[in-house]
Symmetry: C2
Subunit: 902 residues, 2 copies
């Protein structure tokens, strides 16, 4: 039979840190510390198995538990020179929950258990401090009545006021009667009387007396902790965090120690390294003559542990090192011991009772991104951990803090955003509000910092978006135009801020009752999706100049299997991504290249053309531009593959024209204004996402494909003559039928043959593949693979079609869906693995089945999402492609996925 | 070793009708006739295996073929008293192709083979008719040079003019020189000279002489026929018809007989029953002293076979019965013999050479729908076939001709439509053009026949559509609004007529150079998708009064496994569908119910509501209307299931408002005009198909679902109290996640519990299921089935999402896609079995796996398409649901699918 009770005392512990499943995190760490010889108040842990038994047997404990607890209490008595319930030398205990993984505040705690009418006098005698004793007793009664007698019994308080509130009112009455400001002013005899009043009120309200038997108190507290595992809050928390119900909680019973027993007592919390910077210095706060909760409650200003962590507010207050040098030295030794043992930064709690140091808790400490990086790399240098472990130590999202400036979390205004939206581009930025792209560009040229705020953005806004520090839109989702473009440039962006009511005419933004004007300062937190009025403090970043980041990412590259490419449409973006470690371009969109003034004119002429010859003439004008674009990108990616997607958007995206532009276009093309209008009208579609776009354009107008293929291949051929290793791959978008790819491939191969003949470059590499973004394509992947050198999942459109969600319109219901947990996550932010993921797996399997050498990648926005990257790794893809600023994150996520494999 | 050559002569045949695979259709039927003792010119068939061998051995024949052919020719010689190549008594033969299934005109034929300089004189002497002989010789040279020497050799004619055209010009030159009107005017000596000129020209152009050796001619012709199997036209035809390349063609070599050897010779074609009416009377045409092609060429007016088939044009001309009574009697006896043997109507060809009757061909004859039905039912009565065979005899589409009026195919104008579109609603209709729904309604009330012509239709046009004889739209696909509504009412409809340029202001339609005006007559052929100017002749139908149709469909019901329901939104449609045999309603759309004047007002108030209470108030107004609608439909379907779909379309479909209406609505709801406008604006979506619709509405506004569920269930409860067996099934649309259905089901079950309590009807049936129309739902079908009593595939939306096609915009590229065979068929007309079909199968399998009793149906437009119905049968669905006028077709198609199972 397994033990139900694990004792720990004086350097001897039945458990250790490896028994978290059985003892919970807290219990396992207490046992571990005890085993390491670290002073821990003696006690014992009742295992999680007892919790499971308790709940599966109608609240009954397994046989033998009571005896085991008694034995453990006996053991504590020997060590402490005090015995639980002994009227002469009473021992008090704390009863705390402790599950496998931390569930902060979700379960119950009862302190000071063991105080009864019979044990009180001895304690008063022993401490000579009746105020301290009656205060402890008062706290016990209140806590116990609330946790054990009311909540754990499932008693619903009448009129919404629980027993705790009622008892608190008694205390308040005393304070107001005597004009006391704080609890500390209440005197000993007043507290004693209050305890009597508490007990009377408990009996009156709950119908039974507060137990005056220490064992009844103890078992009541233990049962209440076990019951709290199935409390409403705890169950809800488990649902969210995905913690299984059957895990259960352990119960930790431990001798009470007090930091509030006078000037030689103290309490504190510390981190073994600085959690804000990662620096390897001991960092913490303490308070003399105080209880643990006083340090965190913020009523008294905490003192610094040592010189290194003094701040402005406690510069004049003594450090622990100064005030209690012996205890401090002991604490430093424990810090070193814990770091060596846990090989990670620890978050510890300690109490000093009359000069004696007791450790109450150790656990792995939370840290921000820069700190996580620094600790991981330095711990490798120190030999504490290996490189693989260092890789595991950073959550990929934490890299964002290194790659982008961010809003200072210490800025108090961070609690009061004026609007919330979707976190489309991480980072923080400040600037003055501008409402049009042209104005953003103009002010940007003057060196002003601007935030572009739009209802939504379109390709015509990109110059203004480029000039802005950040972009905010009222509409759109995680893959809306604004989101895509912003992420591509690593720009801060919040989309779908439905609360913003933008009035271009008056140049104002209405948000609830607040009116903002063009020129007002705005701060955008794109990591959290929040917008603030005014100029908040930012923390800058400089990823390019961070050798620790470079080191960690290099280690990642050693272990990952998944390639990491980037989505880039310009030589600048390509170069930036290459600096971030991109191994090629997975998606080069060609349509953005057409929005320049001169080019869009030719584009529009092409669209207006009535005949193929006319169209071909307009396309001929575009050819040299396209070729130059491709040369720039291919050159920046010398030696690496560049996947170029052929024209994808519906043609009307190029035709947002006002009356004047229509007249000009009519004049330029020699058509009537009516004819131009009629053509514009004919381009209108009810659902453009499902309309005449992608390869449907290339099949309707093969001359477009021909021009683009020629531009790509001529660019490559010319670069190769210069000695550049240009490696273009041509990608056909929106294929849903094998014959579509066959058609476009034929056109491309014809052009390739021409270019090879014209340039004499017989070795010119010609790869033709396709986006897999239409559900039908995943079903027919075998047949399509027969025509394709590569697949690249376009998971944005695949998600739109598989879920039936328009990324532009999803704001009308997706927030509600996420709130109601109809979808666990925004499927445009993190791949819908249960749905869309099935199609990714299916297409990969069928495609490779038909063509084992098929290269399979993904170039949707999910290529930069760590959870999605882990999925793509498991699905066996060859690479992910993401925006330049996500490349480091993808490298890390890919490495972690590889480590997870074994 | 198998025989390569199958002879038939004088009642003895090696083959029979069952050997079509080996002998081709023509050869097998010739053998069969011969075996039945029917006079057939003797001959032999070279098997399809020889064709396969020929093509797989570089044009070489298998060993022994030559000897077998020689032996067969010897056999013919004995019978005909003439020998192939014998200068004294020469035998001429025809060489014809004949594949397993008819490929009309796709392969080659050579006639009069065996005419050479050495055999000509004897034939002239024997016939005493040099003109006849030289004309035959001239034809042989022309045909042979073309088919054998040019085409089969793959010679590309220079300048586009083939040898045949050149030889024809020689003939034309003679005619014009002598002023002859027809070929028949050319005299014998002129023909003899022409033959010499032909031979010279052949040698000059093709570089070798026309062969003067009969065996060389014969083998040349045989080879040419085999080669023509792989000719461009034949290969293309096989691709379209799905005929495998390896089938090959047989070659039929047969003694020539001549119907043009004088007044005792004749030729004719006949059907064993009337192919236009199905009447069991012998029906055909003949010509004295003529060749077969003369009958069909239409140069001479053909004579009637007998009194019964005389027409206005040949009333004065003698019938075959009158002119050649003996031959006619023999022919009648053969007709009876063939019908008994083939148990089907035969299409035969015969030639009478100098009073002797020869049968040249028999094959199953083509017939129209009404004829097919009559023949099938009468043949069962006659005991020729059984009921199962009768069911197989009708193509489901042929029922359309019985269910709808149609444009008379005899009307000459049928060849010149002014516009073509998609055949969205079968049948034919005439009416005057109207361009607005209101005008259609107004004129309809005056009893005028009108055709409503619109760019596209919306729910606001339905009153005008109802009043119109037919609907024509310039835009939209097979599942556009116009198409759906028209099919629902069995109305003729052509959609996507892109050529129509409608100008509402001037009240005109421009089609190319033609201008039509409101009030002009128009004829619409919705079966073929064609539109005609003017009033063409129609053939009316009266399906309700057709006992043969009723009988056949009753036989169908005996054998089919698949249930047939209907899509109906009104009591009238429901009753009509029930008369057509619908076994329930598979899809009752509820949104159409809101377009009535008073209702749409409440609907709009609901949409404008800011708060739930306001919305609930507006919905309360709608409740009694909805309940009455459901009562009407449930009553009409007494005892049968009625699947009601909850509100599906995006709300903006109810909000097409002009300025006046906006002002009125603002006044009615006490909101400002700006507020109403803002709400309208906020309803705008980039891609409404993928937007806020379906269950997304019901989840955002559960009170809508609550109102609809209440209306349905109260309607059912009230009817049940009246003794009506109401069986509602509630269908949640657009589910993509299990939690969506869970949410809506919970709302519905809450309402159900309330209604049960209120009405005291504890047995009230409550079934809740879902449309499967989002690809994700098919992938998660197991989880969704856990919540669903039934699935109903919404294949319209499933097709849109799986293929990424907007049904409203597909006109921009789908016609090109069909032309280029990128998709074999319009996936909105016939289910895309290779793509969408995979998801249907997957969802059915997974859904039933999770819940074996799950009822699975389909309610998309594909439910009325025979090919799709066969697929749904194979996929194991429980029922299909289609528009009322497709119900008979679905019953037939379902029965045929069941028969195909074995």
């Amino acid at each position: 039979m397994a033990d139900y009770v694990y004792t720990f005392a004086a350097g001897k512990a039945m458990g250790h840190a490896g028994l978290k499943d059985l003892l919970g995190g807290k219990g396992a760490n207490l046992a571990e510390m005890c085993g390491l010889g670290i002073p821990v108040p003696p006690g014992f842990t009742i295992t999680t198995e007892v919790c499971t038994h308790f709940h599966s047997h109608g609240g009954r404990y397994p046989d033998g538990l009571q005896q085991a607890v008694e034995r453990a209490l006996d053991g504590m008595a020997e060590l402490m020179g005090a015995r639980f319930g002994d009227p002469a030398a009473p021992l008090l205990v704390s009863v705390r929950s402790g599950a496998r993984s931390s569930m902060p505040g979700m379960m119950e705690t009862v302190l000071n258990v063991g105080l009864t009418s019979r044990t009180l006098p001895a304690l008063v005698a022993k401490t000579g401090n009746p105020r301290f004793v009656y205060d402890a007793y008062r706290r016990l009664i209140a806590m116990y009545a609330d946790v054990v007698m009311e909540k754990a019994e499932g008693i619903e308080p009448e009129e919404g006021e629980g027993i705790r509130e009622q008892l608190d009112r008694l205390l308040e009455a005393v304070k107001s009667k005597h004009g006391y400001a704080t609890d500390a002013d209440v005197e000993a005899d007043q507290l004693e009387a209050l305890c009597a009043a508490y007990r009377a009120r408990v009996k009156e309200v709950l119908g039974k007396p507060f137990p005056d038997d220490p064992h009844e108190q103890l078992w009541g507290a233990i049962g209440a902790v076990f019951r709290s595992w199935n409390g409403k809050r705890a169950v809800h928390y488990r649902r969210i965090e995905g913690i299984p119900d059957h895990w259960g909680t352990a119960v930790n019973v431990q001798a009470m120690v007090f930091g509030n027993m006078g000037p030689t007592s103290a309490t504190g919390v510390a981190f073994t390294r600085n959690p804000a910077t990662g620096e390897a210095t001991f960092y913490g706060e303490w308070l003399p003559n105080a209880q643990g909760e006083d340090v965190v409650a913020g009523i008294r200003t905490p003192y610094a542990l040592n010189d290194a962590c003094r701040t402005d507010v406690n510069r004049e207050l003594p450090t622990l090192e100064e005030a209690m040098p012996a205890a401090y030295r002991e604490l430093v030794a424990i810090r070193d011991k814990l770091e060596r043992r846990y090989r990670d930064m620890q978050d510890i709690e300690f109490t000093i009772q009359e000069e004696r140091l007791w450790m109450l808790q150790t656990r792995t400490g939370k840290r921000n991104g820069p700190a996580a990086l620094r600790m991981a790399v330095e711990m490798v240098d120190e030999g504490l951990i290996d490189r693989r472990e260092a890789i595991r130590r950073l959550r990929p999202e934490q890299l964002d803090e290194l790659l982008h400036a961010r809003v200072d979390p210490q800025d108090a205004r961070i609690e009061t955003p004026i609007a919330r939206g979707l976190p489309a581009g991480p980072g923080g930025a400040c600037g003055i509000i501008v409402l049009t792209a042209d104005r953003a560009e103009a002010l940007g040229k003057e060196g002003r910092q601007v935030i572009l705020v739009r209802a939504e953005t379109s390709p015509e806004d990109v110059h203004g978006m480029h000039a802005a520090q950040a972009i905010v839109t009222a509409r759109g989702g995680m893959t809306s135009h604004a989101a895509l473009v912003a992420r591509g440039w690593g720009k801060t962006c919040v989309v779908g801020c439905g609360e913003l009511d933008i009035d271009l005419k008056s140049g104002t933004i209405q948000v609830g009752n607040v009116t903002l004007r063009e020129g007002d300062w705005l701060t955008v937190d794109g990591t959290r999706g929040q917008v603030y009025a005014g100029k908040l403090k930012l923390i800058e970043s400089n990823p390019g100049d961070n050798p620790q980041l470079a080191a960690l990412l290099a280690w990642c590259d050693e272990v990952r299997r998944l390639g990491v490419r980037t989505n880039a449409d310009s030589p600048e973006d390509a170069a930036q991504a290459r600096r971030f470690g991109a191994e090629g371009i997975g998606l080069c969109r060609t349509e953005h290249m057409f929005f320049d003034e001169t080019r869009i004119q030719a584009m529009r002429e092409m669209i207006l053309a009535d005949r193929e010859a006319e169209r071909a003439r307009a396309l001929e004008k575009l050819l040299p531009y396209q070729k130059e674009d491709f040369k720039g990108i291919l050159r920046a990616m010398d030696g690496l593959p560049v996947t170029v997607r052929l024209l994808d958007p519906p043609l009307h995206e190029f035709m947002h024209l006002d009356d004047k532009q229509i007249a000009e276009l009519a004049a330029a093309t020699g058509k009537s204004v009516e004819a131009v209008r009629a053509r514009l009208e004919s381009l209108h579609e009810a659902n453009p996402m499902l309309g005449h776009r992608g390869c449907r354009l290339g099949i309707s107008y093969p001359e477009i494909t021909r021009m683009q293929a020629r531009a790509i291949l001529e660019a490559a051929a010319e670069l190769r003559r210069e000695g550049v290793d240009a490696r273009p791959e041509i990608m056909v978008p929106l294929v849903g039928a094998p014959a579509e790819l066959r058609h476009q491939k034929k056109v491309i191969l014809e052009v390739a043959a021409e270019v090879k003949a014209e340039t004499g470059d017989a070795e010119l590499p010609v790869f033709v593949g396709t986006m897999i973004e239409v559900p039908r394509a995943t079903l027919l992947a075998a047949e399509i693979a027969a025509e394709a050198d590569f697949f690249s999942f376009g998971t944005n459109d695949l998600t739109q079609l598989t879920c039936g969600f328009s990324r532009d319109d999803v704001g009308t219901f997706l927030p509600l869906y996420l709130e109601q947990e109809i979808y666990p996550e925004d499927p445009f932010a993190s791949l819908d693995q249960t749905g869309v993921g099935q199609l990714v797996e299916l297409a990969t399997e069928r495609g490779r089945g038909a063509r084992p050498e098929l290269k399979v990648g993904i170039c949707g926005e999910h290529g930069g999402d760590p959870a999605s990257i882990a999925f793509f790794h498991r699905a066996g893809l060859d690479y992910v492609s993401c925006s330049p600023y996500r490349v480091p994150i993808a490298r890390l996520a890919a490495a972690q996925s590889a480590l997870d494999d074994g």
